[in-house]
Symmetry: C2
Subunit: 521 residues, 2 copies
């Protein structure tokens, strides 16, 4: 069992960076070693190792023994023991927690050593959390997780949805998917299970997840009332929240932005309400003809979240389900409500971020971002894509990566991945890999465009390796080394000093390298 | 042999729209028929057929017999017989050619019948060609091709590169790829063959291609001098051009923007010169220490192109090969030269467009587009991607689709596709399909964002089908019906009235449809 869950990256080492304010911190990073450059005379010049952000946790540390039954080491246990407040509380008080210094080190990669200017310091992290522009989702009861930060001034993060539905998959498969997501670079996991064994599945995932875990508690509450919308109520929901807080869930998606008066705004839509939680809550409001218990009990929800430091992800139950419905009155009415709720959460020192669409054509993306910043007072935005055209089912990882890249560039802090199975069925492991890597591309494209300190180091190293025909380094530095090498091998070409697309005589890079040399090929 | 090359789209018919100015025109379109909507009472409401742009030519017409040895019917033969001038010449003279009316009908889909406002008329097409903002690449000697237009005010087009290299593939495979590209929506094909049988391969492709075919003539010229850069000269190149003009090539990529004085600007680059033609010409200039024969003989090139109405695609030999090198002095110096050449081409009534990068991070894309419009006087832009990050070989169809969608939205008229094999090897049929569909997504996302008349009709129809659980219609309306259905079937779910991702109890769309109904699920 252990071996199966070990993560290996080619020519890479697990390294740990130390803290300064908190000297006991060990921040896991991945060091990708490179081959030397060999020039025509045979002289060798070393290429420096590239240090990259690493979401794989202990799974990629050869010295760690993995036992899924025991769970991961509880690295945050000493920090959270006896802790009674949230990161937001401490940030406002001027306290830099271990989590804050951890993410500062992690976000910087090794900028300082590379001589790259960086604004990311533990104090900067604290400020961003204090003013609500960033969130560290880290339930005291999930000490296995490595701190990470969600905020517009930081690396764009990606979330992976896993979870069984009534139709498929089992517990071990879900845990395997969680680790698989971490391997490819997923920053958080949402367990969206709706079938049997919800609680047990979640326990396994939490105890073995080095990244924060989010849920949509209404799903479990809905199971508890056997799928009868009308029987949902605050008591059932509260009981579910407590259960999940105790287990260690790091953030909750709660569709508390749906107001009774706004539901009818979705009537004129082409595709109605496409959020599961949103449709359940809307239905509940109509049946009972009153405000939802989520909205009515929002302060109670905050009180619970504060106790464990569970972050709130305000779910966009009225998000558009087609480009036709993008940026409509229903969507923006809900956003206004979320803006009110953000301030109420902050007043209770609860960390909060905002979920966004969905389906939005390119020219309407900017309005989403600007309006979110304005209405929600700078709280982080967490979007699903958006998908920019509806005509490509089976390719919605791509239709949505386009929107995700653009909205990430404009300031969205976290992107919820989409797999090729979107709209069609549940993803298998291969679909998860495709979805995660596609979203790492979107996030990284946004990081480059935002000018995140050091983000371009990896691109430059890979490009240099490519130009020098260091094929192995090109693969090792890539987001998916295995696939890059597999595709290269398809061409039956082994480490040749020309580009496999052009053949030996037509290789531009080979000819280009002879420019200024001797005027001979 | 015939059957193998027939193209079938599910539940679709080939239809032909008639011309008005030229009543003999028959513009092939694809009509996708839909199932009726059945409401709870069992009542049926018809859904209208959706008419979409169709690049598949006669291959999707069941009444046409395909014989690759004979080639396609020469539909443009009556129009071009005795014709001595270019589309640009006629446009300037105020003449609406059959090609102009053809593309006007084709671009509009059936907006008028749908009551959608459209600015696209034959006269508008003529104006855009006359002012150089659009090009119809249509060599008199390629009468098999169906007219299409490349211009910022029209649907964004995509090009597919095929062609054998010294390393692989044969003629039949290349013809098959060409037809395969047309099936999935490729608007033009570039034959980039560099191996043996260049001329024969091209002849087969041209005679069987319903879309315009472009080439990079320097490749063949380079073969003629056995790969010896120093032996290239104007005579060899001219002979090659004449040969290709006579065969019917519709547009030539020529790297005539490289000036001797600018080559050194690439010295400080991370990845030098990555254009094959660009590296050959730069090397030639250095060896001979003089301006390239392409620049020196630009007017002669135009004289040849004018005779056959071959469009010029000014190749960007100094395009960046990494995001590091984007928007640098070398790239922009070449763009300035292209701007001079555009005016010289127009003075000779030669249609011309401009090739662009390549590798550009998101925040530097806009500068590319704005500068191109300014320096090149509004001539159409034709870009390769751009790729927005270099860290994802094996996923460069995606890294580049992000850039392509954005630059298409900003005004780029044609996008050169990129497959998952980019930087790694030659694409096979499956890679071509992935690349073409990915680029149809980028082009369509741009069309929606630009507000092209009627572009959203297909999205809306598919979204409505999705919301109503008309699965078959959802597949049939999609860019890749086969793959959408294949993925859906993986979930073992057959035409159920709930979403396969959520399972029956959690289907948002199902619940949403019961809102306002009876307050019961």
């Amino acid at each position: 069992m252990e071996k199966k869950f070990k993560i290996n990256y080619p020519n890479s080492e697990k390294i740990y960076l130390r803290g300064t304010i908190h000297p006991d911190l060990r921040v896991g990073m991945r060091k990708i070693n490179q081959l030397p450059t060999v020039d025509k005379s045979g002289a060798r010049r070393e290429n420096p190792p590239i240090i990259v952000y690493d979401t794989s946790g202990p799974y990629s540390d050869p010295d760690v023994v993995i036992d899924l039954n025991k769970g991961l080491d509880k690295l945050r246990l000493p920090w959270v023991e006896g802790r009674e407040h949230t990161q937001l509380y401490y940030a406002k008080k001027g306290v830099i927690t271990p989590e804050m210094e951890y993410v500062a080190i992690r976000e910087n990669m090794n900028c300082k050593e590379l001589g790259i200017d960086t604004y990311i310091t533990p104090e900067f992290v604290r400020e961003e959390i204090a003013n609500g522009r960033a969130v560290i989702p880290a339930n005291h009861r999930h000490p296995e997780s490595e701190p990470m930060i969600i905020g517009t001034k930081f690396l764009v993060k990606i979330n992976t949805n896993i979870g069984n539905s009534a139709l498929g998959s089992d517990i071990e498969e879900e845990v395997e998917k969680a680790i698989w997501s971490c391997k490819w670079g997923g920053d958080t996991i949402m367990d969206l299970s709706t079938g049997k064994n919800i609680k047990e599945t979640r326990e396994w995932i939490l105890r073995n997840s080095p990244v924060p875990v989010g849920t949509v508690p209404i799903y479990q509450a809905f199971e508890k009332v056997n799928g009868k919308v009308e029987e949902l109520n605050w008591e059932v929901f509260k009981e579910t929240l407590i259960e999940q807080c105790e287990q260690g869930v790091d953030y909750f998606t709660i569709h508390c932005g749906i107001r009774l008066k706004n539901i009818h705004l979705a009537d004129s839509r082409l595709t109605g309400i496409v959020s599961r939680g949103g449709s359940i809550i809307s239905k509940w409001c109509q049946i009972h003809n009153e405000e939802s218990f989520l909205y009515a009990h929002f302060d109670d929800i905050c009180d619970l979240c504060r106790r464990y430091d569970v972050a709130l992800s305000l779910g966009d139950g009225l998000r558009p389900g087609s480009v036709h419905d993008a940026n409509d009155a229903a969507q923006f009415a809900e956003l206004d409500t979320m803006g009110e709720l953000v301030e109420r959460a902050w007043a209770k020192d609860v960390q909060v971020f905002i979920e966004g669409p969905g389906h939005v054509p390119l020219h309407k993306i900017r309005e989403n971002m600007e309006r979110q910043i304005e209405k929600c007072h700078g709280a982080p935005f967490y979007t699903l894509g958006p998908i920019v055209t509806d005509i490509a089912p089976a390719y919605d990882h791509i239709t949505s990566a386009v929107g995700a890249s653009v909205i990430g560039w404009l300031g969205t802090a976290m992107l919820c991945y989409v797999t090729p199975m979107e709209h069609l069925g549940l993803p298998d492991k291969n679909d998860v890999r495709t979805g995660v890597v596609t979203y790492k591309i979107a996030a990284h494209a946004a990081d480059l465009a935002k000018g995140h300190p050091g983000a371009m180091v990896r691109d430059n190293a890979l490009s240099k390796a490519r130009y020098e025909f260091r094929w192995k380094d090109q693969f090792n530095l890539s987001l998916d080394p295995e696939k890059a090498e597999e595709y290269y091998r398809k061409s039956n070409n082994t480490d040749a000093r020309f580009c496999t697309m052009c053949g030996p005589n037509f290789c531009a890079m080979r000819i280009s390298q002879t420019l200024n040399d001797d005027c001979q090929l």
